[in-house]
C-alpha cells in the first residue's frame, strides 16, 4: 500500500478513535497526530496517565530505576526490596552484557530480593532489610555497594529504608543507596529514570569515602544512557577510542560504581538515551561545568554526523581522528548497503518503542532505503517529541502511549512491511502475518550501535523481512479456493 497522505492519516486516526466512549475519545485524540514539519511544535500530548481499561504497553517506576538505570551497574548488588515477583520476572531480561564473574565480582543477571511475606507487610520489613544486607556482605564480599530498589509495598507501608541504609552502610563500610522507586509513582517508567538519576546525584557523587579515581586526562569522556544491550556500548566505545578519546565511564551498561564516581571529572558527557539520563547530564553541567552532547550511533549517516559533532568539542587531533574513523569504516558500510539495500529498498516500517529508539533508529532504516511511516514513544515527554519532529517525514503517524487496540488498527490499515516494538506485541503481529522485530533488546541479537552494529542491524532486518515464512501463514487447505479461482481464470 502506498504511504498515506496527511488527510488519509487524519481520517485513519478519527476512524480508530470511533470505538471509544466520548470522554476516552477526547483524551486519546490528544496523543495521536500526523507529523507536519512545517509546524513549529508537535501537538502531541505526552507523559500523561494512561486511561483505565485500555491496554497500555508502559512499565512502572521500579522498571525504570532497577531495570534500566541501576540494574546494569555490575559491581553493585541491587536489592529488589519487596515481594519476590518484580525482581524475578525482570531478571536478566534486558540483556545488558557485562564482563566479570557472575556471583563473585559481578551481579548483573542475579536477583536479590527481600521476598516480602504477609508478616513483613504487617510488621514492616526494615529488620529484614538490614539482615539481608548483612547476609549479602557475608556471601558476596567482593560487592562494591548495594542499592535498595523499593517495590510498591515499601511506600505503602511506610518503611524507612533511608535509615536502614545509613546504618547498614556504616556496618559494612560500603555505600548502601536507598532508591524510592515504588512502582506506583508517576505515570510510567520515566519517573523511575528520574528518581534513579537523583539517587545517583545524592548518594554517588561526592560520597564520603569514595574512591580517588584515576588521573583525569584532557580527552576523557563518559558514555551516558547506553545500556550495553547485546553489547551496544562496546561497539560504540571502540569508535570513540579509535578517534583518540578516552572513555572512562559507561552509564550504565557494563558500568561500575568507580566509573560513576569518575564521571564528574570528565571533559564531555556523551548522551545517547536522552530520556533516561538527561537529568544527571544537566546536573553535571550545572555543578561541575561538564557540557553534554546528544549523539546517535545508529546507521553510518548518523554515526558520521555524531562523530563530527563530538569531535567539535575537542582539538584538531580528535577531529582528524574522527575523519579517519569515518573513512576507515566507509568501505565496510558501502558493502553492507550494497548487499542489503536492494533487498530492503522502499519497505515501510512502523515503530513503537521507548526511550531514544523511536527517533534514533530512523537514520539506520533510511540508510537501508527503508521508510518509517509511524513512530511513537511509550513514555516520551514533550522534549522527545520535539526532537522527533525533524527526524520523521511529513504525514508520518505519531502515537504516544499507544493502546494495543490502536496499534493493531494502525498496522492493519497502514500495512507496514515491518513492525518494531516490544515482546508483548511481537506474537500478535507475527500471527497477523506482519514481519516483526523486538526492538527493546534487539530480538536476542545485537549490538546495533556503531558500524559493527549496523552490519548486524541490516542482516537482522533482511532476515526478518525476506523470511519465506510470511507467505506460509495461511494453511494450504485455506489457500486452495484462491488457487482454483486463479486456475479457472
Amino acid at each position: 500500500m502506498a504511504k498515506l497522505n496527511k488527510e488519509e492519516a487524519q481520517a485513519l486516526i478519527q476512524e480508530v478513535l470511533e470505538v471509544y466512549p466520548e470522554k476516552a475519545k477526547k483524551d486519546r485524540a490528544k496523543h495521536l497526530a500526523v507529523n507536519d514539519t512545517a509546524e513549529a511544535k508537535t501537538c502531541v500530548t505526552s507523559n500523561r496517565k494512561s486511561l483505565p481499561g485500555v491496554m497500555t504497553i508502559r512499565g512502572c517506576a521500579y522498571a525504570g530505576s532497577k531495570g534500566v538505570v541501576w540494574g546494569p551497574i555490575k559491581d553493585m548488588i541491587h536489592i529488589s526490596h519487596g515481594p519476590v515477583g518484580c525482581g524475578q520476572y525482570s531478571r536478566a531480561g534486558r540483556r545488558n552484557y557485562y564482563v566479570g564473574t557472575t556471583g563473585v565480582d559481578s551481579f548483573g543477571t542475579m536477583n536479590f530480593t527481600s521476598d516480602f511475606q504477609e508478616k513483613d507487610i504487617v510488621f514492616g520489613g526494615d529488620k529484614k532489610l538490614s539482615k539481608l544486607i548483612t547476609e549479602i556482605e557475608q556471601l558476596f564480599p567482593l560487592n562494591r555497594g548495594i542499592s535498595v530498589q523499593s517495590e510498591c509495598p515499601i511506600g505503602l507501608i511506610g518503611d524507612d529504608i533511608e535509615a536502614v541504609s545509613k546504618a547498614s552502610s556504616k556496618e559494612i563500610g560500603k555505600p548502601v543507596i536507598p532508591v524510592r522507586c515504588e512502582g506506583f509513582r508517576g505515570v510510567s517508567q520515566s519517573l523511575g529514570h528520574h528518581i534513579a538519576n537523583d539517587a545517583i546525584r545524592d548518594h554517588v557523587f561526592d560520597r564520603e569515602g569514595g574512591s580517588e579515581g584515576i588521573e583525569p586526562g584532557q580527552y576523557d569522556v563518559a558514555i551516558l544512557g547506553d545500556y550495553n544491550i547485546g553489547g551496544d556500548a562496546w561497539s560504540s566505545r571502540i569508535l570513540l577510542e579509535e578517534m583518540g578519546l578516552r572513555v572512562v565511564a559507561q552509564w550504565s551498561g557494563d558500568g561500575t560504581l568507580a566509573e560513576m564516581e569518575q564521571t564528574p571529572k570528565v571533559k564531555l558527557n556523551l548522551l545517547h538515551c536522552y530520556r533516561s539520563m538527561n537529568y544527571i547530564s544537566r546536573h553535571m553541567e550545572e555543578k561541575y561545568g561538564i557540557p553534554w552532547v546528544e549523539y546517535n550511533f545508529f546507521g553510518p549517516t548518523k554515526i558520521a554526523e555524531s562523530l563530527r559533532k563530538i569531535a567539535s568539542y575537542f582539538d584538531d587531533s580528535i577531529k582528524e581522528g574522527a575523519e579517519k574513523v569515518i573513512a576507515k569504516y566507509q568501505a565496510m558500510c558501502d558493502e553492507i548497503i550494497a548487499k542489503y539495500r536492494p533487498r530492503l529498498e522502499g519497505k515501510k516500517v512502523m515503530l513503537y518503542v521507548g526511550g531514544l529508539r523511536p527517533r534514533h533508529v530512523i537514520g539506520a532504516y533510511e540508510d537501508l532505503g527503508m521508510e518509517v511511516v509511524g513512530t511513537g514513544y511509550e513514555f516520551g515527554h514533550n522534549d522527545d517529541y520535539d526532537r522527533t519532529r525533524n527526524d520523521v517525514g511529513n504525514a508520518t503517524l505519531i502515537y504516544d502511549d499507544v493502546t494495543g487496540f490502536e496499534f493493531e488498527e494502525f498496522v492493519k490499515r497502514v500495512k507496514p512491511d515491518l513492525v518494531g516494538s516490544g515482546v508483548k506485541e511481537k506474537y500478535i503481529f507475527q500471527k497477523m502475518g506482519v514481519p516483526f522485530r523486538q526492538m527493546h533488546s534487539w530480538d536476542y541479537s545485537g549490538p546495533y550501535h556503531g558500524y559493527d552494529g549496523f552490519a548486524i542491524f541490516a542482516k537482522d532486518m533482511d532476515m526478518t523481512l525476506n523470511n519465506p515464512c510470511w507467505s506460509k501463514l495461511t494453511p494450504p487447505w485455506k489457500q486452495r479456493p484462491e488457487a482454483e479461482q486463479k486456475a479457472v481464470a
Binding site: A40, K41, S46, N47, Y279, R282, E285, E286, G289, H381, N382, D383, D386
Partner: protein, 71 residues
C-alpha cells in the same frame, strides 16, 4: 513558582528548561542582561512569559532558578 534551568544554547542565546513540564524553548528576550543586574521578565519563543528575581551578578550558566509565571 517553579524550578527552571537557564542554559546557554548551542546556537547562541539562552534556553529555558522547565523539568516539570518538559518544556525546552529558546529565550526570546531577557529584561536585564548586564554584568551587575541579570534576570527580570523573560519572553519565550512560544510567547509565554516568566519572571525571575534579578540577580546582582551574572550567573555562570546553566543555572537553576525559581521562576514565576506572568499573566
Amino acid at each position: 513558582m517553579a524550578n527552571i534551568i537557564i542554559s546557554q544554547a548551542t546556537e547562541g542565546g539562552l534556553t529555558f528548561y522547565m523539568p516539570k513540564k518538559d518544556l525546552e524553548v529558546p529565550v526570546k528576550s531577557l529584561e536585564f542582561n548586564q554584568p551587575h543586574k541579570w534576570g527580570g521578565a523573560l519572553t519565550l519563543a512560544d510567547g509565554q512569559r516568566y519572571y525571575i528575581d534579578p540577580l546582582d551578578t551574572m550567573p555562570s550558566l546553566p543555572k537553576s532558578l525559581r521562576a514565576k509565571r506572568m499573566d
